[in-house]
Amino acid sequence: MAAVLAPDEPIAPTPAALMRRRALGHAGLLIGAGVLAAIILMAFAAPLIAPHDPYAQDLGRRLIPPLWHDAGDWAHPLGTDMLGRDYLSRLIYGSRISLLIGFSVMLLSGLIGTALGITAGYFGGKVDLVVTYFITVRLALPAILVALAVVALVGSSLWLVILVLSLLRWDRFAVVMRSATLQVRGLDYVQAAKAVGCSTPRIILGEILPNVANSLVVVATLEMAAAILLEAALSFLGLGVQPPLPSWGLMISEAKSYMFFSAWLITIPGAALFALVLAINLLGDGVRDVTEPEGRN
């Protein structure tokens, strides 16, 4: 990054260079991106770094406390749970589930919401009314209750949780994409594209989408964080990911009845969830600050 600081920098740097400079000076963005990258790395390298099999039970070695307690054991740095499974290994593998849910729901709900939002914003009129009506109805439905009910009726599985959350969480994408599209659709370059006879799909994909991409990234991070929290809540209530999968929400749920004597069983997976969601939110806030510095307040 020496080039950015070099004295022979032109007087008016390119927008990309400006953005890079702002990003590198933004503490929240750097911390968020760093922590998220570390967790993603942990998820990919889980088989290499996990000290034990996350499913292997050892009933003779149940509820060993973590290292910072006097009774800690180096073989199990974060202790073991009520079935004697290594807590660190379960925590490491748990990151895979949170990230899988976060990314899948973000992509799927993003696809639905962005399509609806851009269509409403671009065409306006009756189309806009219909989409806005859908958004209003969706917001009136209590998402977590509906998700719980459907998962319970259909029978819970990881993929069903992803599908249900995606079908419930497209509203913010639609709202933001709709207003972002409204702002750019009257601009000169869109009119120019229309005037030279570009097809509607080409205008939407080639002119509108790139110019609303900043808002899209910000909503995507918010929605990924929300999906991770929702999965954790569903699993905590016993209607999300099913045992013995090491979902962080499920780990907290399983440890609930032991928490008064073994508080670490709930503080550790909760802290992991908190760190992941915080990192994603910091990244999203950072991207918003860097891409639209005038809107920082």
């Binding site: 009910a149 954790a232 209530l237 908190f274 915080l278």
Partner: protein, 305 residues
């Protein structure tokens, strides 16, 4: 104003109808109800008998019309698990959830509006940073985990408050705090950004220039305008809280609608589930309708738009 109210009322009614449609079909398309009611290991004749007995063999549209007609009169049939009329249990549990929601929104507003105003008064001060940190932490905290931590700290370590049940007002303190922290960040951010915008406007400069006391400028002139979008958001957040109460009430075994919903969902008691989802959606629709009216009344520009 009347035309505005009528238009909004009609829209709310339409949304309520659509929500009832979703509520009904959600259950009927997710599973075969007769099989779910018969339970595991039921014989085919028993399933057929239930199907006939409850009229599940008729077209869905007919069943929906009948269900809606009865729902409009407040009748939801009998609970499959509790074996009593659904309406009776729901009405019995509703006050607990409404009390919880009221406490939670009061705590959330009481915390986030003053913090938002103070943060906007001195942008980038330590106070602004503190307020922002509280918001960022609140948005990343899983609500059920925060509830468990509150239980551990105030219920177990300090022993100040009860952690389970709904017998006294003290039982509502921890759940209300947990639920409030879930709604506070959004309200605080909106108050702060609204105040920043208003404080930079011409009429505030005029008010200051003519020598009004700073507190009068802040609370009489600025907050009044900045609070308009906050009213709408608070209504929306209260609606979300009623939905989110399923998590918090389950953690604290607080005997409200949310806890009832969870019990009903676990036992495949779909008449209760349908009634609760519909009721919470209706409360949300009424709240946003009232917020719309309040906004239109506070800000005539919204009425015209």
């Amino acid at each position: 104003m009347l035309a505005f109210a009528l238009k909004r009322g009609l829209l709310a009614l339409l949304v309520a109808l659509t929500v009832s449609l979703v509520c009904f079909f959600l259950v009927h398309l997710s599973t075969d109800i007769a099989v779910a009611m018969a339970g595991e290991g039921a014989r085919a004749e028993d399933i057929e008998f239930i199907r006939k007995q409850y009229g599940f063999d008729r077209p869905l549209a007919v069943q929906y019309a009948e269900w809606l007609g009865r729902a409009a009169r407040g009748e939801f049939g009998d609970s499959l698990y509790f074996r009593t009329p659904v309406a009776a249990i729901v009405w019995q549990r509703l006050p607990v959830t409404l009390t919880l929601g009221a406490y939670a929104i009061l705590i959330a507003l009481g915390l986030s509006i003053p913090l938002g105003v103070l943060a906007a008064m001195r942008p980038n001060s330590w106070l602004d940073r503190l307020a922002l940190t509280i918001a960022v932490v609140g948005q990343a905290m899983p609500s059920f985990w925060f509830a468990l931590l509150l239980m551990l700290l105030f219920g177990v370590t300090l022993g100040w408050l009860p952690i389970s049940g709904s017998d006294t007002q003290a039982h509502f303190v921890l759940p209300a705090i947990a639920l409030a922290y879930f709604a506070a960040p959004a309200i605080m951010r909106l108050t702060r950004s609204g105040m920043l915008e208003v404080l930079a406007s011409d009429y505030i400069r005029t008010a200051r220039a003519k020598g009004l006391r700073p507190m009068a400028v802040l609370f009489k002139h600025a907050l009044r305008n900045a609070v308009i979008p906050v009213v709408a958001l608070a209504a929306v957040q209260l609606g979300f809280m009623l939905g989110g109460s399923v998590v918090i009430e389950t953690v604290f075994a607080l005997n409200g609608l949310g806890y009832l919903a969870w019990e009903a969902i676990l036992h495949n008691d779909f008449p209760v589930v349908q009634a609760i989802v519909l009721l919470i959606a209706l409360i949300y629709i009424v709240l946003t309708f009232l917020a719309d009216l309040a906004n239109g009344w506070l800000d005539p520009r919204i009425r015209m738009g």
